[in-house]
């Protein structure tokens, strides 16, 4: 059984193609089920986000799986295969596992280290698992990938620091106020970044978002969008007195919030006031930043933070890649140890058969013994066989690479005449595949 992966991502395909190959907007579960009915795919998971569409399958015949997956993409999205073939990437076995680990770690994301991808990978697996489209191979590799994602998140700073202006503003607000629930927000001027910032603040549970704009209709539109309340422009001074966080983003050519305005407010409050001025030219007099209780950040300050965070993430990439390498080595070692299982099983059966045959042969001689002594003879012989097999079993599971494994398996088979005596043992891999097969039938 092989792991096989085929897909497109922001690295290989332009946006319009990714949009046309997107699964997430349509019924993802149906897509996974449709994929699982292909003859060469025993297990399947579809990972689809705005930056990637990837098909993960476990297949006994990767070459055939490739053909079928291309056909599936073409049929499902009603696209000629020529449209996407040059943009496809294809990986199998360790290459596919590495790709999945890197995706789960956020290393393959457009914004490296962004936090949502791990959840999206989990959801993709969950969707497939609920429809019984996963089996031992994909379950193992996806759970391993969740572990890699978690390790990278806890052991490196890859996902740390906000990398957009609006997130940077919210992160700062949290460093000043701790939890944001119960805080009041005033948004002055309705623009794109102020809307985004207000939305992020809303998701942090702020108590109130008050919006004012010279054009009252704009304020009302934004209020409806983020669940706030629009107030007339001439109430700006009054509402300033109630706010903990102020976002300004008007097109005004001159500052609309002066030092005098803010001082009138801070004199009456004990908590700090956080002012985010994302307007160009600035809406808030820079002198406001000199007031002890006021934290004033303008668009350049926030962009500076974003730049710094991005370069800090860059420095963490090598550490994250090292974790991926380490986990991949452990994963492939685990896979190889599973490859040794059929040989180990037939070796055990062979030894046990010899043991039983000998005990049977000695049956007449042993018949004089009392029952508990006979039981002990049985126990002792069983223990001897187990002891003899312990070391070879461990060694077979821990072989360093596939070539050595083939050579050793061959040698063991020949030395103990495993194939001739026992015939082919049913490989556990095939046995485990059964649930997926059953579902397909």
């Amino acid at each position: 059984m092989h792991l096989f992966l085929l897909g497109v991502s922001h690295r290989t395909a332009p946006l319009d193609l990714r949009e046309r190959l997107d699964f997430s907007s349509r019924d993802l579960g149906a897509a996974v089920e449709a994929l699982a009915t292909r003859p060469s795919t025993a297990e399947s998971v579809v990972l689809s986000t705005c930056n990637r569409s990837e098909l993960y399958v476990a297949s006994g015949e990767p070459a055939r799986a490739r053909e079928e997956l291309v056909a599936f993409l073409s049929d499902y999205h009603k696209l000629p295969r020529e449209a996407f073939l040059p943009h496809l990437f294809v990986f199998d076995d360790a290459g596919a596992a590495r790709h999945l680990f890197r995706v789960a770690a956020g290393l393959d994301s457009l914004v490296v280290g962004e936090p949502q991808i791990l959840g999206q990978v989990k959801d993709a697996f969950q969707t497939a698992a609920e429809r019984h489209c996963t089996g031992p191979m994909l379950t193992r590799v996806f759970h391993w990938a969740f572990g890699v994602g978690k390790r990278v998140r806890t052991e490196t700073a890859l996902g740390e620091g906000a990398v957009s202006v609006s997130f940077a503003a919210v992160a700062l607000a949290r460093k000043i106020f701790g939890r944001l629930d119960g805080r009041r927000v005033l948004v002055v001027g309705a623009g794109e970044i102020s809307a985004l910032t207000a939305q992020h603040l809303r998701s942090q549970g702020v108590a109130e978002i008050v919006i004012t704009s010279r054009t009252h209709a704009h304020a009302e539109a934004l209020a409806a969008q983020v669940g706030g309340r629009a107030v007339p422009w001439d109430e700006l001074r009054r509402t300033l007195g109630r706010a903990d966080i102020v976002v300004t983003a008007t097109g005004s050519q001159r500052p609309i919030v002066t030092r005098h305005d803010v001082e009138a407010v801070t004199r009456r409050r004990t908590d700090p006031l956080f002012i985010i001025d994302i307007a160009v030219p600035r809406d808030v007099d820079p002198e406001v930043g000199e007031i002890e209780q006021a934290f004033l950040y303008n668009i350049d300050d926030l962009q500076g933070i974003v730049q710094e965070n991005l370069s800090r993430r860059g420095a963490e990439i090598a550490r994250a890649e090292a974790i991926v390498d380490e986990e991949l080595a452990r994963f492939t070692a685990w896979q190889r140890s599973r490859g040794a299982i059929p040989t180990v099983v037939s070796l055990r059966q062979r030894f046990d058969a010899i043991r039983r045959a000998e005990l049977e042969r000695l049956d007449t001689k042993l018949s004089g013994l009392p029952p508990d002594a006979r039981a002990r003879v049985d126990e002792v012989t069983r223990l001897i066989v187990e002891k003899l097999l312990l070391e070879p079993t461990e060694q077979l599971k821990a072989l360093p690479d596939e070539e050595t494994q083939v050579a050793y398996t061959e040698a063991v088979n020949r030395l103990f005449r495993l194939r001739e005596e026992e015939g082919r043992q049913a490989a556990p891999e095939q046995a485990e595949k059964a649930p997926a097969d059953r579902h397909r039938d």
């Binding site: 806890t154 460093k175 000043i176 701790g178 409050r269 004990t270 700090p272 209780q293 934290f295 710094e308």
Partner: protein, 275 residues
């Protein structure tokens, strides 16, 4: 006997520094575990000394410091385990380690002055030591507040910014620590006054008791401390002195506590010396 806790505190201190620098959750858990072990060992030492002296060891300044360190560690552990904020450990542990070296270098014997065989005395000293431990915590919280404030104000979000808790969290914790400390300080001072009056009746010639007047440096220091923290409480509630001003006040208050505790105790005062 105080050496083992000191060594464990030092090891825990290194672990906290490691955790602060690397921000690995595992290092943080290790640091907490080590500190729990240190506190346990210290509890054992204090317990032994209590059995030996018949009361909690604090009549001798060295032993009082050791008891103070123990209370500080327990208060800190309480704060850490309830808030899951480990960043302050790296600031608390140096104080713990620094102070704990004193009883290790000057072990001192627990005096058995009969004047001290009074429950009043026991309440007096334990209240004050607990108050001072709270003030120590408050001052560290104040210090971290000022560091965090500076980072955000300067718009340079660097090393400390990512590691320290939010300003609001630090301010609330500081406020609680000061309130608890003030309560116990008040209790300790009142009990001390009552006990001195009683003891004077019982032993009118004791020079130690005669020295307990307001112009004695130690007594004056305690009253000054009470004044500073009372003002801090008052100012926070009525003048709105929170945040940076509250942080400064708790730092100044604890500086006076430290002065009163160590140099004045050893070199200046005539009262409160029972050996």
């Amino acid at each position: 006997m105080n050496v083992l806790p000191l060594v464990l505190y030092a090891v825990a201190g290194v672990a906290y520094a490691f955790h602060f620098a690397g921000r690995q959750p595992q290092a943080g858990r290790t640091a907490t575990t080590l500190l729990l072990f240190a506190a346990f060992a210290h509890t054992f030492v204090i317990g032994m000394q209590t059995m030996e002296a018949g009361h909690v060891p604090f009549a001798n300044p060295s032993r009082a410091i050791s008891t103070f360190v123990w209370l500080l560690t327990l208060s800190y552990l309480y704060l850490e385990l309830t808030t899951d904020e480990r960043a302050m450990g790296v600031f608390i542990l140096p104080i713990v380690i620094g102070l704990q070296t004193i009883p290790v270098i000057y072990p001192g014997l627990e005096a058995r002055d009969e004047v001290l065989d009074s429950p009043w005395f026991w309440v007096h000293v334990s209240s004050l030591l607990f108050a001072y431990a709270s003030f120590a915590l408050a001052s560290v919280l104040g210090l971290t507040y000022m560091l965090q404030f500076k980072e955000i104000k300067k718009k340079h979000l660097g090393y400390l910014y990512t590691r320290l808790p939010s300003l609001q969290t630090l301010d609330v914790m500081n406020s609680r620590a000061v309130a608890v400390g003030w309560l116990f300080l008040t209790l300790g001072v009142i009990v001390g006054v009552i006990w001195t009056a009683q003891a004077r009746v019982a032993a009118p010639d004791d020079p130690n008791l005669q020295a307990m007047v307001l112009n004695d440096p130690k007594v004056f220091g305690a009253v000054l401390t009470w004044g500073v923290y009372s003002f801090a409480m008052f100012a926070r509630r009525t003048l709105g002195w929170s945040g940076r001003r509250a942080a400064w006040l708790s730092a100044i208050g604890f500086a006076i506590v430290l002065l009163n505790f160590v140099p004045i105790n050893y070199f200046v005062t005539t009262s409160h010396t029972f050996n």
